[in-house]
Symmetry: C2
């Protein structure tokens, strides 16, 4: 293993410790010492890299964005229709377990802090744009290959994303998975009705 | 002025001080002493009523719910269609000034804390339900009087509310009023197309 592999391992271990701390304590109650408590390597290594929680969280948001990008790129689908449903599934999963619920809660807390932290805001703006452009791409591909009606792809993407975000924002802080599920159905049936030619 | 008037005045002044502190500092950075700094009467009066910020915020959320209820009840409209648009206008105002933007930001922060505070969660669940039931009522009235198509009123209400919440959650932390405006147009044109018989 060369130095760079070692560094990557350390970075990944720090990001995983952050993830676990956020799931366990939420964002407000997470401190750098609580993240250090989840870190399996030497604590001093973590304090060597980061001065405070904000600095660590900035890197964590960046790491999440990379994960999201890899996840979206990994979707394999025969048709644009199938791919679109896979993206909706990422936004509003049919099943959401306790850990995922806790993590999404923490992300909503972080997002609510975006107005007060430029770097948070920048990362969220990027991940929003990544999701929107992925939606736009798949809708355009579906229009080009004749699967979808000729709609305004950006408008449809904004619509899907706002609806998904609204369901999360409504359902997650209130611990109401029902809102997520019913919105999922609304998004899917809307897409089938408005977009897909032969649903 | 009798005792009860005096108490109501004090209460209102404390709630207004809380509103100003939230607009100025956001939720995380608001402390009971920052609220006291905005309070025009004796500081000790505020500390006499509340031990900490959480206790004060609980009352503030309750107060906001009363305001929302009064505001929704005050809508005067000739038709169900007009009334529905007035409600959408409350959720996604066409113009949003800096103070309103700051206040909505603070409310999203508070909502993100709902998983960790039972009383916050309870108040948000109540205000969501108030808005949804107001939407359901107006949609049903429109169906009964022949203005609207015969739709599933609860489903339509959930749809409008999730879309409006999603636009707020997307646009407000990222300070992007454009998302609010374009979603407003999407909601309105969707309602005109799907609901209104003679738009």
């Amino acid at each position: 293993m060369n130095d760079s592999d070692g560094e990557n391992d350390t970075k990944a271990a720090m990001m995983e410790a952050t993830y676990r701390a956020l799931c366990q304590h939420g964002y407000s109650d997470t401190s750098i010492s609580k993240i250090a408590a989840e870190f399996e390597k030497s604590k001093s290594l973590l304090y060597y890299h980061y001065d405070d929680k904000e600095e660590l969280l900035e890197d964590f948001l960046h790491y999440m964005l990379d994960q999201l990008e890899a996840d979206l790129a990994s979707i394999e689908a025969e048709t644009a229709h199938e791919e679109l449903l896979s993206i909706v599934d990422r936004l509003l999963p049919e099943e959401i377990n306790d850990e995922q619920m806790r993590f999404r809660r923490a992300v909503l807390e972080l997002r609510a802090q975006a107005p007060y932290h430029d770097t948070y805001r920048e990362q969220f703006a990027r991940s929003d744009e990544l999701i929107l452009s992925t939606l736009v791409d798949v809708i355009e591909r579906g229009i080009e290959n004749g699967e979808f009606r000729s709609v305004n792809s950006r408008e449809k993407a904004e619509f899907v994303y706002s609806l998904a975000y609204g369901a999360m924002e409504r359902g997650i802080p209130l611990e109401d998975p029902e809102t997520l599920n019913s919105t999922r159905e609304t998004v899917v049936s809307h897409l089938e009705a408005q977009l897909v030619k032969f649903a």
